[in-house]
Subunit: 97 residues, 7 copies
């Protein structure tokens, strides 16, 4: 099963966080802040401008992206895995190198 | 009886959720979260842009779509069946494969 | 007496609801939810776009339309009958067949 | 003394309401709801569009217009008479016939 | 000393109100509502449209204008006199004759 | 050290107020209202319009400007002096003569 | 590891503040206000205008910029260093000389 995002939406697999502190203590899920990074899994065709032109997105499948701390509340479960659905405008940048 | 949605509206039949837990316990209606997926039943002619052009919608009748958890409060009962009326902008993507 | 709506406004005669339950009990007015359907009685010339063009409305006199549950608070009494004044954007679709 | 409204403003003389009930009881001013109808007394040159063009208004002096129940709080006293100053967008339609 | 307002701003000298009631009783300042009329003292070059064009204002120096009851809180003291600074959009119309 | 403001921002040195009343009583800082006037120290290249054109600002270095009473909370300390950073839209006009 | 900001975003390394008062007393982190200045580390390709054109940003890598006191809450940790992600519109100006 796959999801084809519409327009300027981007599907992202959130990076998993180490659940242990530097001292090796295991943190319960609720105590660990979810990382605001992830891998792009699918991208829409582009943003529709006021004049009807479509602007291709600036991120590609496989990119590691950083998004806002308060983004990422829209999710969908695909094949048992929870994925995020973001607007491109919620993505700050791409991690490189 | 049919409904012809205007402009960028989409009529969606919400997917029914299994009302039993993995362990086989029947959940009462209120306890089960409604699934934010459904099948497109009808689509409008398209979104009217600022310059008056009409942009055809990116979803078609028969598509299985995912929409926001907080979307789906606008409903209409057609032939005894409750259908959702969404704006295309409330639809995140289309499930494929 | 007639009302000529301006621009993208639509005058609608709200559908009357059966005031009895399935079991035949008469409901007092306040207990029955008003139906969010009605018949178009008059339509404006069209919506004025940013560039000054006028876009004709997508509904016509005689159409049976569905509108938002929270629309319909603007009313006018014409010849003793209460009619609704809606923006076309408050109308979800047209009932056909 | 006259007032020349600017742009898309319209000066309206609110219709006076009968201050007696059907049974002939005189209502004090505060108890009677003010009618949301009136006669157009003056109109502006038109609405200035984003591109600088001026769009003439769709109402004329002498028209009987219907406006929103919550419109009409901007008033001016001209020769001892209180008149309303509305935006054309606050006017729903024109009463005819 | 003079003030040259920018763009679509207008400098207005508020009309002084008679501080006595019809019966001749002198009202203290706070009890009298300030009149929402005044004389235009200076006008800006015009409103800058989205396309960069400048639209000249529809009021001129010397005009007696009416403005919103809740406008007029932006003031400047020029040569000991308090003047209002309004946007043209806060002005309803011009008193004539 | 200098600051080059971006786009439609303007750097202003707020006018100092006499800290004594008419009767010669020295007011503590907090009791005196800060004057909403000042001298332009630097201006940006201009406002970027929707179509990408740049509109030069209507104020110049050395102008004495009046701004809103509630503007002026964005400050920067340059060489030990506190300067205001305003948008041109917060400036009402220029004092002349 | 590097971050490539999208569109009109700018990555900034916030200036470190002296953590001692004039009198030499060491301030704990929470007591010192964070400086609203920093060095540009990376810039996006530019802001996408309504017509689809891309407007290059007015700041460059290495610029020392001033931003709003309430900006700077969006951060990313790159190689153990916390960096800010700003919109160009949050940047007031560039420090020169």
């Amino acid at each position: 099963m796959k999801i084809r995002p519409l327009h300027d939406r981007v599907v992202v697999r959130r990076k998993e966080e180490e659940q242990t502190t530097a001292g090796g203590i295991l943190l319960p899920g609720a105590a660990a802040e979810k990382p605001n990074q992830g891998e792009v899994v699918a991208v829409g065709n582009g943003r529709v401008l006021d004049n009807g032109d479509v602007q291709a997105l600036a991120v590609s499948v496989g990119d590691i992206v950083v998004f806002g701390k308060y983004s990422g509340s829209n999710t969908i479960t695909v094949d048992g895995e929870e994925l995020l659905i973001l607007n491109e405008s919620e993505i700050y940048g791409v991690i490189e190198g």
